[in-house]
Symmetry: C2
Subunit: 400 residues, 2 copies
């Protein structure tokens, strides 16, 4: 039998998926499982987007340009320019979801063995994208006590070697929900200019900022044109995860041309996905207002509910639809399996993502979980009751 590639052996398996068989078994046993583990929103996709899909009128389902359909890139540029990104359509490369944008960014910017610094906890698939590019992730710890604020720049500098090529942030953050401030971004700017690094900003959750907080992008900062790579997707913005339409934005022309070569190899993003995504740009503000209101209420319910449970601590995040909470438990992997496998309350239980999957540093965050508030408030309330009872019963509880 031929060998698997070294990269294939090293490729991390998705940490959350380890729990899937236990969730399936729980369902088979008749338990209701509240899924707080995933980033699949229950929010409906805008009608304007779904209608565009239903009304497609092509008779040949053809390739599009590798960089994306011209009219879609124009429309997208207008969306970003409303947000003061000061870009042109030629700065945009349309991709198969944000995932491909990240893959292409890593492939284009990092040679094998090169390093990318990422504040942790971070979205676990960053490990996979880096592995596919034979690059090395250097995690830098952020702390639940500060709400997962950006680590001090001095800590970043300690990690910089002659192999360091990029820093990546996710803003607002998955898994922590943290929203980076202008000051934090300015400090990253100083750093990337000093060491001539790329700054990747994954802005999948841009539209999800709460409490009147202003979203700041590295695209808003002066003097970073050659350094910034924005990663975006329609997945969360329009609750259209299954459309697989994202984009990479950079004003660095050499990088754009390199990324385009990778994009040309895979021919094109989907035609119908781009048609629908183009229509989605006209989604009325009222849609986002309603969604934002709903998520704010859910976040408040979840965070308040979590902090009411004895021994639980959860900071209030400024964006996205995730929180990371600290539980009075020995081990989140064990607990998240136990609550599916051994526990139920009123024949219900909760699926959560152990935060260990979001940390690269060993033995960090072992008592933390990520919860996605992608369920209705009523269900969140029930999940909270369930969790409170589970924490009382759990044999590995660490506090009286």
């Amino acid at each position: 039998m031929p060998e698997i590639s070294k990269r294939g052996v090293d490729m991390p398996a998705s940490p959350i998926r380890k729990l899937t068989p236990f969730a399936e078994q729980a369902k088979k046993e008749g338990k209701k499982v509240y899924h707080l583990n995933i980033g699949q929103p229950d929010i409906e996709t805008p009608e304007i987007m779904l209608n565009a899909l239903k009304n497609i009128d092509f008779t040949i389902w053809a390739y599009t340009p590798s960089e994306g359909i011209a009219s879609y890139r124009e429309k997208l540029a207008s969306y970003y320019n409303k947000l003061h990104y000061r870009i042109t359509p030629t700065d945009i490369l349309v991709t198969n979801g944000g995932s491909e944008a990240l893959t292409i960014a890593m492939q284009s910017c990092l040679s094998p063995g090169d390093e990318i610094i990422i504040p942790e906890p971070f979205y676990a698939n960053y490990n996979g994208f880096a592995c596919a590019a034979d690059a090395v992730v250097k995690p830098i710890l952020s702390y639940i006590e500060t709400g997962f604020a950006l680590p001090p720049i001095a800590e970043f500098e300690k990690l910089i070697t002659d192999k360091t090529r990029a820093i990546a942030i996710c803003n607002p953050n998955n898994p922590t929900g943290y929203l980076y401030s202008r000051e934090e971004l300015e400090s990253l700017k100083t750093l990337v200019l000093k060491y001539d690094l790329y700054l990747f900003a994954d802005e999948a959750y841009r539209e999800f900022c709460y409490d009147g907080n202003t979203f700041v992008s590295p695209m808003h900062l002066e003097g970073l044109d050659q350094h910034v790579v924005i990663i975006d997707t329609v997945s969360k913005r329009y609750s259209a995860c299954g459309a697989r339409i994202g984009c990479l934005i950079t004003k660095n022309k050499a990088l754009y041309q390199t990324a385009l070569k990778f994009a040309q190899t895979r021919l094109s993003p989907s035609l119908e996905g781009q048609i629908a995504a183009e229509a989605a740009v006209d989604t009325p503000d009222s849609y986002f207002e309603a969604v934002s209101k709903e998520y704010t209420a859910r976040r408040n319910t979840l965070v308040k509910g979590l902090n009411k449970i004895k021994g639980v601590f959860c900071p209030v995040p400024g964006g996205a639809f995730y929180v990371v909470a600290k539980l009075p438990i020995d081990n989140a992997d064990k607990f998240c399996q136990w609550i599916l496998e051994e526990f139920s309350y009123n024949n219900e239980t909760v699926m959560m993502a152990p935060a260990t999957g979001f940390y690269s540093t060993p033995n960090v965050g072992i008592n933390q979980v990520r919860l996605a508030y992608v369920l209705k408030q009523e269900d969140l309330q029930k999940a909270l009751i369930c969790l409170a009872h589970a924490l009382k019963e759990y044999p590995g509880r660490t506090q009286p």
Copy 2:
């Protein structure tokens, strides 16, 4: 300005795209350009597939499982088992087009520096997929004189080193249209078993076999379960290039699990693409019969027409919708640019793909072009007339 990755610098640009500006300029000047350069068929997508797209009824455009929707994988397995592939749905990984299937296959099977042997001329993007995996393509020459038959196994053996991990074929072949025989596949089987190699078979053009030729897949051969990786796509089969739905098939469980890890990183293929592709499996045989009849007629028109032109030689291929022809010219890159830039006949001209882009070995195939018969016969006839006149006028003609 930060550096581009080494891989990004090495990444080949698409060779055909170099001609695009000249084609655009020709159109601006009012010339009609017959596009024989591309693999985008003019055949309509089956109605059953387009209707499935128009009739989607989800309200949340959600992720699907990373390996693909269960019902689609079942339907696909039934399609393959009608062709006697003897597979189960769990052998199928649904991908973003055949391109992603090839990328994942290379990432999973080849470590950086590993080698893959591919008969040339070959589909130029194989270079890109290999580059993205930091793998090395070792080309092995096939010859227009033999209609691009499989090179002798002894020639393969000369190329095998301790870095060799895989052999890739495209069957029927892009760019040559060559259809591999059972004997050729059996000889490849002996080879891959002897050296414990993977055998990648890109079968994008499986449904396009002419003259009653039987299509043979490595999946039909006994004893190759651990070695064979099938690459497939709906792009050509259903003229649905823009749907970006393909798949990777392997009965090697370790490889499947590895490929799945790469697939999980990018979350999922598109939901609506899979829904439509699932419906497409029920495309009536009459569709393929009509398409096959049309392509056979086009192929005959094109090949006959080409061989009638003085100094031109074109073998009769058994499948796909491409031919590679030898022209009485000094340099196909120059000629293909010249015919767009400097030539017209009745204010018309032809765009072709210089075959040099399909060869890795330098200075091979420099008088060859690939022509795709993706136009109606009437247009093919006009393109042939145009080409015949161009070959008379071309200053770099090599024969009297």
